[in-house]
């Protein structure tokens, strides 16, 4: 079979099979009914709005958690060391102590740990 003939036969066969398929198709619905149904678009919009609401809720929860449980970000530079970190043992150097009590808003202890360099007792 030559190339042209092959393509002609392919075209004819494809069209005859497609015509057979068309007999299995439902007739076109009325345009007004099709436009008013909006099935897939509605589902898409619904799914998008659910995802949007879930995302916003997650962002709000995260913001509240960060605001209530956040450790102090900085210590004033001119604050006396004793007022920040009362030393429990003299002579130890360096001393590791908890700089601030756990936040009242958070049930878990504050993870902030401050290393304080104390003067050597000579």
């Amino acid at each position: 079979m030559s190339a042209d003939n092959f393509e002609l036969v392919l075209r004819a066969r494809m069209k005859s099979h497609a015509a057979e398929l068309d007999r299995s198709l439902r007739p076109a619905p009325r345009l007004s009914a099709l436009l008013s149904s909006g099935g897939a678009a509605g589902r898409t919009l619904g799914w998008l709005s659910v995802r949007l609401v879930l995302g916003l809720a997650a962002a709000v929860v995260l913001a509240i958690a960060l605001a209530s449980g956040a450790p102090p970000l900085h210590v004033p530079q001119n604050a006396p060391l004793a007022s920040i970190s009362p030393s429990t043992s003299a002579g130890a150097s360096p001393t590791q102590s908890l700089a601030s009590p756990p936040s009242r808003a958070s049930p878990t202890p504050s993870p902030s740990i401050t290393f304080v360099l104390e003067p050597l007792a000579t």
Partner: protein, 179 residues
């Protein structure tokens, strides 16, 4: 009795023109979407969605410049790609990846038993999905290289390559071709 104003008259004429396009295009649009997703109900769902999007574009003056069929096909193809990217369960991807497992998940399509559907499925199985799509657009819908390229996102040369490779693959499977 209230008569329609000039704007409404234009709107009604535009709606009538779209309805004519829709009625003429519906069977071919369903046929094309069936080729893409190989499921009768999904194909009709996509065709309906494509018509809705096309109507919206038509109303806002973004209708087709010439033949509306390639325009509708392009809209339908984008919907298929959107859905396969979102990986809706039970959805056949355009690339055919995971098609067998997805096919098992879905209810049997009554069209699958029709001999013509079996023929198209066998045709698809002996070449890549791109080659199959290009062959269908050329030999079933008689579109030009440029129109096919616009729909599939290929150059005219790329379309010709897919067509020649698809035809070559088909020549090697005469039992499919001769059914």
């Amino acid at each position: 009795m209230r008569t329609a104003g000039p704007a409404e008259t234009v709107g009604l004429a535009s709606d009538r023109a779209f309805e004519e396009v829709y009625l003429a295009a519906w069977p071919r649009l369903c046929r094309y979407t069936w080729v893409l997703v190989r499921h009768h109900e999904d194909a009709e769902d996509i065709a309906a969605e494509a018509v809705r999007r096309a109507y919206s574009a038509w109303q806002s003056g973004r209708g087709p410049a010439g033949d509306p069929m390639p325009w509708l096909f392009l809209i339908a193809r984008r919907i298929v790609i959107d859905r396969s990217r979102r990986r809706i369960p039970g959805w056949l991807s355009l690339s055919g990846q995971g098609a067998s497992s997805d096919r098992e998940m879905r209810a049997a399509d009554p069209i699958d038993g029709v001999e013509a559907a079996v023929w198209f499925n066998q045709l698809r199985d002996c070449m890549s999905s791109r080659q199959h799509e290009a062959i269908v657009l050329r030999y079933l819908f008689d579109l030009s290289d440029q129109q096919i390229g616009r729909i599939m996102g290929l150059s005219a040369a790329g379309v010709r390559t897919n067509l020649s490779r698809g035809v070559a693959a088909l020549r090697k499977r005469p039992e499919v071709f001769d059914r």
